[in-house]
Symmetry: C2
Subunit: 220 residues, 2 copies
DNA sequence: GATTTATCGATAACGATATATCGAAAGGAA
DNA sequence: TTCCTTTCGATATATCGTTATCGATAAATC
């Protein structure tokens, strides 16, 4: 999960660019298994919904070798660069607090490993859950959060509790030493400097979807 | 789900603005139950991480009454305006295809109703699931999708199948007449004009999170 | 080897979004 | 009533991300 890119120093890459990287990676892997050696930015652009120029700009930020005129980018080299950049070569551990519907689904979902994330345990307050396992991962009581984080040297916590409990969980995560929080409860969390929060706000997303839907239905 | 706002005609509101509306709404409701009658844009801004100017700009787009100098915005009126704007007063039905971990969680999650979305049924290809119910909602075979959509006049479909199956499901949704698709499989979907797709790409989100994490850990 | 052409990379233009500034309005205080 | 202060709303400015343009490069072809 930790980035060890060769060439992006402290510059920092925009979130927009970052968010496209997994899609580039997926496409490149598909081409790679087909035996394709070089792909043009235009081909990548066509596969996802972006412009070729943007693809080149993005790739310029992470690629260790330049694209070759008339050929394009070298597929396998680029895959390696992006994986290194995204830290997928270096799967990092995370834990999840809130083993309800969504939390349970996440614990059981093996796909996160492909994105460099390994959820190693769940935490919950419900005593009926504590002590059980989901997908071979232990469910522990919240009290053990701090110890667990310190022992296993974990940086990332995922919050999937109801929104009323989110800030409390967040505080404990911060106290335990977590540095990044992926929050699925739709509340704003306050955290000290140095801790980052990423919101996965389904309500916001849904608002955008229905907003667009409105425009479409209304326009005819 | 369909917007019936009094004052934003065909103008269209930016996605960014749209995405903040649920957060405004949440804050305003919290204040409302406390008995607060007026709130200043600065107070709202402080609660979430945006500037007061931005709050005023956003609210100007949806509010039927202007904010009052020295007092701020009238809480309850504003709540009504936003709910109307977002269509939360008019819950619309949706269906979900893919009753795996995430799909199951969504079917069981009652909270979507608060956001104007009512998931009425799940669809899956697994014959062991078909015929069962989750949270009182029937699981149906994919073949019945088209009939179901037409009979119930549904506009929104949610895709929670593995990515290999996503485009196929998407095609069937389009054929059935769905107008908006909320896609949780991280693949780009191709749809004809007039159908809108909203991507919920956890891989992209995770990339952003870890990107920020990298910056934080690296900066010290 | 010369020519053609697909493709890149850099720079500049554009558009959308967020911020800063400032005059105006209205509640509250003198 | 008059003045002061808060807060709004409008306009202008800045920032960020995307797109457009164009010369340069190197593979492919003749």
């Amino acid at each position: 999960m930790i980035h060890r890119s060769p060439n992006h120093e402290e510059a920092g890459v925009s979130k927009a660019t970052l968010s496209r990287m997994p899609a580039y990676l997926r496409y490149l892997k598909e081409e790679s298994v087909k035996g394709v050696e070089y792909v043009a930015s235009a081909a990548i652009a066509k596969d996802m919904a972006v412009s070729a120029v943007l693809v080149r700009k993005d790739l310029a930020l992470v690629s260790s070798v330049a694209g070759r005129p008339r050929l394009g980018f070298e597929v396998n080299g680029l895959i390696a660069d992006i994986e290194k950049f995204l830290g997928y070569d270096n799967v990092s551990d995370a834990l999840i607090v809130g083993v309800g519907g969504l939390g349970r689904a996440f614990l059981g979902y093996e796909g996160f490993k492909n994105y460099g994330l390994n959820i190693v345990a769940g935490f919950d307050v419900d005593p009926r859950l504590v002590g059980t396992k989901i997908a071979k991962k232990p469910i522990l009581p919240l009290d053990e959060l701090t110890n667990f984080v310190r022992q296993r040297n974990i940086n990332i916590g995922i919050i999937t509790v109801p929104k009323g409990a989110a800030q409390g969980v967040c505080d404990r995560m911060v106290e335990a030493g977590l540095k990044a929080i992926w929050n699925f409860a739709s509340v704003k969390l306050s955290v000290p400097n140095g801790v980052i929060v990423r919101y996965e706000d389904l309500a916001a997303s849904l608002a955008m979807l229905s907003g667009e839907l409105f425009n479409v239905l209304d326009k005819k």
